[in-house]
């Protein structure tokens, strides 16, 4: 085949993305020579910096040969069951987005149709009261699903990790090196392109040397030190995701909680998320409606510590993360605010795809086309899910009002009209978030379908009400027997102590 197989890969970047990429490549394609140039993590490299992760992080670990317990026992990480959204709709209660089923199907149609019918009648219990993991986490309790009997509630929910980012990155680095990745500590001073085809020939380093490779992976954050040498094209999503600033403040450790908080703010939103090492706070906002100094003051008020310098965000993605022999992963390819914690998740999926689709040295256009197509489709679906939080909000502040006035992306508009009209979610390929996740946010923010599904008419409303009450009662009974999150975590660590 043209050019023969790729033998050597250089990954530029010193965070979770670069080391995760190096580990995955070495683990899956042991014939590859993999070198990491560990440049310092940029302030805006969110995939390298955000501590809250989606459940998919565990799949990534299993893929690269790490045990589920490794990050917790060896890198001080904790667990997270989901996010509590507060204040996104004026006058409406908070809602929990967990990675679990919301209700159980009974009859021939999905649970939410029954819930919607009850809600229209008035007096339905909150939608998330029917999601086992939400009931558990709201009570401040936690247990791993594998510790529950198969088939029972709470035996199947998904959970993410609350990373201790520094320790976790160090663990990944050690692991990647253990399985054969090399480290070349140096700074990049230049990118050398081949005259004949524009491929990257090598990187000039500040130690005077040059490093060459067949393929270069750019994990250097928003600056995209390598990839941006090839082209600058960028699809800007600022019209839908208008927040262009972010502050992060890391406070000391507090009592751990299984739910993160995402709290709407007059000009954006802020988060508070615990992990065993610290509590991470952040404020995502738009500079048009909030001055940096006022934002810093606001975040210091809730975090109790001084935030770092403001980080500029320009949300959107590169249409082609992979061009010639350079593939951008993480913030080098995508800039998204950390709402719903998708940054590292998307980086991991890009890495999985890179491993699965590694072409020959010629990086044939047709192979890159499929990589870029899949990455774009997936990222667009995530974008829609984030935009949903804004278009389905109801707050009176000018920032929120302005955002709601913008027409959403066509694919999201279709979801909104179909769900708003009859409670149905369209199927799209390459979706990150499950139907239950979409329902959690739609219903959580008060989007109630205009009509109920005709297929549930065969089940009388009283029967639905009884079934829903049974779900809530049985969850309450189980939850009361579970340990609190902190007791669970300390027991787990205690049991595994040597």
């Amino acid at each position: 085949m043209a050019g023969g197989p790729i033998r050597s890969v250089v990954a530029a970047g010193g965070g979770m993305v670069a080391w995760g990429c190096a580990a995955a490549l070495r683990r899956k394609l042991p014939a590859l020579e993999v070198t990491v140039i560990p440049i310092p993590v940029a302030a805006g490299a969110l995939a390298d910096r955000i501590a809250s992760t989606l459940p998919s992080v565990l799949d990534f670990h299993r893929d690269i040969g790490l045990e589920d317990s490794d990050p917790v026992l060896r890198a001080g990480c904790g667990f997270r069951a989901g996010t509590l959204f507060e204040g996104w709709v004026d006058g409406r209660d908070d809602y929990a987005h967990v990675y679990d089923r919301y209700g159980q199907q009974f009859g021939t149609t999905s649970f939410h149709n029954h819930w919607v019918r009850a809600a229209k009648k008035g007096g339905a219990a909150p939608f998330d009261a029917h999601a086992p993991a939400a009931a558990m986490a709201r009570a401040g309790r936690f247990l791993l699903p594998e510790h529950r009997p198969a088939g029972s509630p709470l035996s199947e929910f998904g959970f993410g990790l609350a990373l201790d980012v520094d320790h976790y990155t160090a663990m990944l680095r050690a692991y990647a090196q253990h399985i054969g990745a090399r480290e070349r500590p140096a700074a990049i001073t230049g990118v050398q392109l081949r005259a004949e085809d524009g491929f990257i020939a090598g990187l000039a380093l500040d130690d005077g040397g040059t490093i060459t490779a067949d393929l270069f992976v750019d994990c250097t954050g928003p600056a995209a030190l390598l990839r941006s040498e090839l082209d600058q094209s960028f699809e800007d999503w600022g019209q839908w995701l208008a927040c262009d600033r972010m502050l992060i403040a890391n406070a000391g450790a507090t009592e751990g909680q299984p739910l993160d908080h995402a709290i709407a703010h007059a000009a954006g939103w802020r988060w508070a998320a615990t992990n065993p090492a610290r509590t991470s706070h952040g404020l995502v906002y738009t500079s048009a409606h909030l001055a940096d100094a006022d934002a810093a003051l606001a975040l210091r008020g809730s975090a109790g510590v001084e935030p770092g310098a403001p980080i500029a965000l320009r949300q959107g993605r590169r249409p082609q993360p992979w061009l010639r022999n350079c593939v951008a992963i993480g913030d080098a390819a995508i800039t998204l605010e950390p709402l719903e914690w998708t940054n590292l998740h998307l980086a991991h999926n890009f890495i999985d795809r890179l491993v699965a689709m590694l072409p020959d040295r010629d990086c044939a256009a047709v192979e890159l086309w499929d990589f870029n197509r899949q990455c774009a489709a997936e990222t667009d679906r995530v974008r829609d899910f984030l935009v949903l939080h804004y278009v389905a909000s109801r707050r009176t502040d000018p920032f929120w009002r302005d955002l709601r006035a913008v027409a959403p992306p066509a694919s999201l508009a279709h979801t909104l009209s179909l769900f708003g009209d009859r409670g149905r979610l369209p199927f799209y390929e390459d979706e990150t978030f499950s139907r239950d996740s979409w329902l959690a946010v739609l219903i959580g923010q008060g989007v109630i379908p205009r009509r109920t599904d005709p297929l549930i008419d065969s089940v009388p409303p009283e029967q639905s009400d009884r079934a829903m009450a049974t779900i809530r009662d049985s969850l309450a009974a189980i939850v009361s027997t579970l340990p609190t999150y902190s007791v669970f975590l300390s027991t787990l660590k205690g049991q595994s102590a040597p």
Binding site: M1, P5, K28, L29, P30, A31, D63, T108, V355, A356, M357, L358, P359, D360, A364, V366, E367, W369, D370, R373, Q374, H414, S417, L418, D421, R422, R424, P426, F427, E429, R451, D453, P454, L455, D457, S458
Partner: protein, 499 residues
């Protein structure tokens, strides 16, 4: 909410499947009135199905053995393709996986790796439980335990469509469907909205409705003729536009699979039922006359003909929209794809599922129509590329027909898929739809689209342990297939047709 009056025009497979689903699952929401004319009769070439039909039957509460006995059905593990890549070639497209099916990497990647390293590995079909059962003419139901190798195959049915419709009719009528016999002479439309208001029969009877389901077949009485919905013609890629069908006595085995045998101007099906074998030649009228096609079919059938050859005409393609105003096309009235991969009944089922899930209010919302049409478009697009692949991936140059399809321009979406498979055996997960990875792999390899390389992850295991694993898998699959009873014997025990 007011009960909707649903009028179904046409009583073939599409009409009665629709009637059964609506009366069973939307009881109280709508009344169902089906109009059919025995003088017109049904096409009913769609005798071979896909495994999805089982979900449809289950949802309606249909007992499998009873249904199979009533329709003289046999089991179907896949489709055997003969003479497609080259004359003399044969492969089976199984409903199931190659290898254990639960691995991170598709099994064929390991197989490709060994082959490319010069290891003499048996043909890929030897590693498919479904193919190996089929090759032995055996059958037993798959295991329900997903860790079990004997769970890695699926099945569908081969049945008599002329008996399936009456079977569903009986059920539908017991669930409240009303049936009127008669030929439609006029379609009355509302002057303002353009919606269909009523249909008028030859007898003068006028049947009004809120929702009209067009199951009238190729003629597309409502959607095509009355509403004039344009037809998107795909015949430049799928040039077959005729079929001639003729059942015969079974002389060969009652195979648990359908056969599709390539012919000089198209292909020929063989579908064994319990009591007879269905045969047909699908061809392009540009390359073969009707007389010659009929003669070729008669010459090729294995047993004594039961009926004279019957001609059918069609064009591959679909209506731009399937749901227009208050009229929904289900089945051939909304589009046609040749039965090469047994998708006709699947497409009927997809439309019915869409209708159930998007069943409208009296005042039909454009949202419902839009979503329904989007779903149907996706189904057609996905199947289209897969069908074109069968014609295009060939080395045959023995007739003008094969010269045409071998050298024709194909849609970009298919060209990209083929190129990616050729490079390293990768199946593009793009609009894969009803046919999953194993289906594409079966057709690519079966028709000589041979990858130059393989997925590099397949290089991870050591050669010795990989070969040892393959040898063991090969033996286990053979044991499973050997241990199953003969298909005909299984049918006689499980679902014998009435004498």
């Amino acid at each position: 909410m007011a009960s909707r009056r649903v009028v179904i025009v046409g009583g073939g497979t599409a009409g009665w499947m629709t009637a059964a689903a609506l009366t069973r699952l939307l009881a109280g929401q709508c009344s169902v009135h089906l109009v059919e004319s025995e003088a017109i009769g049904i096409v009913g070439v769609g005798e071979a199905t896909l495994p999805h039909i089982r979900a449809f039957n289950e949802r309606l509460g249909i007992n499998e053995a009873e249904f199979m006995a009533a329709t003289r059905a046999t089991f179907k593990l896949g489709i055997e393709f003969r003479d497609w890549g080259r004359i003399g070639d044969t492969y089976i497209h199984p409903f199931g996986t190659f290898g254990p099916g639960n691995a991170e990497l598709n099994f064929h990647q390991y197989w490709l790796r060994l082959r490319q390293q010069g290891v003499a590995v048996p043909d890929l079909e030897q590693f498919s439980v479904g193919c190996m059962i089929a090759r032995r003419n055996h059958f037993a139901l798959p295991s329900g335990d997903s860790r079990d190798l004997a769970s890695t195959f699926g099945y569908a049915y081969q049945f008599d469509a002329n008996l399936f419709a009456p079977y569903l009719r009986k059920l539908s009528e017991s669930w409240g469907a009303k049936r009127t016999e008669g030929r439609i002479v006029t379609v009355h439309r509302d002057g303002e909205s353009g919606d269909i208001a009523a249909i008028e029969l030859e007898s003068g009877e006028r049947i009004e409705g809120d929702l009209f389901v067009d199951c009238s077949g190729f003629v597309s009485l409502l959607l095509g003729k009355a509403l004039g919905e344009p037809f998107e013609d795909w015949s430049k890629w799928l040039p077959a536009d005729r079929a001639v069908a003729m059942p015969c006595r079974t002389e060969g085995a009652i195979t648990p699979y359908t056969s599709a045998i390539a012919m000089p101007a198209g292909w020929r099906w063989r579908i064994p039922l319990q009591n007879r074998t269905g045969n047909g030649y699908v061809y392009s009228s540009k390359f073969l006359s009707d007389e010659d096609a009929a003669a070729a079919l008669v010459a090729s059938v294995e047993g004594e003909p039961i009926a004279p050859p019957r001609q059918l005409r069609f064009i591959a393609g679909r209506r731009a929209r399937s749901w227009v105003g208050n009229c929904i096309g289900v089945g051939l009235s909304s589009g046609f794809l040749e039965p090469l991969e047994s998708t006709s009944i699947y497409l009927i089922q997809a439309a019915i599922t869409g209708l159930l899930e998007l069943f409208p209010e009296p005042d039909i919302s454009p949202v419902d129509r839009g979503e329904f049409n989007r779903l149907i478009d996706l189904e057609y697009d996905r199947i289209r590329d897969f069908l074109i692949l069968h014609y295009h991936a060939t080395e045959r140059d023995d007739s003008p027909f094969w010269d045409y399809v071998r050298t024709m321009e194909i849609p970009d979406s298919l060209a990209e898929k083929m190129e990616l498979f050729r490079r390293r055996g990768r199946v593009v997960k793009y609009r894969e739809g009803v046919f999953l990875d194993a289906s594409w792999v079966a057709v690519y390899l079966g028709q000589r689209v041979i990858p130059q390389g393989h997925d590099l992850r397949a290089d991870a295991p050591g050669a010795e342990s990989l070969v040892a694993g393959m040898v063991q898998l090969h033996r286990q699959i053979a044991e499973i297939a050997d241990g199953m009873p003969d298909h005909a014997e299984y049918l006689a025990r499980y679902c014998p047709m009435a004498a």
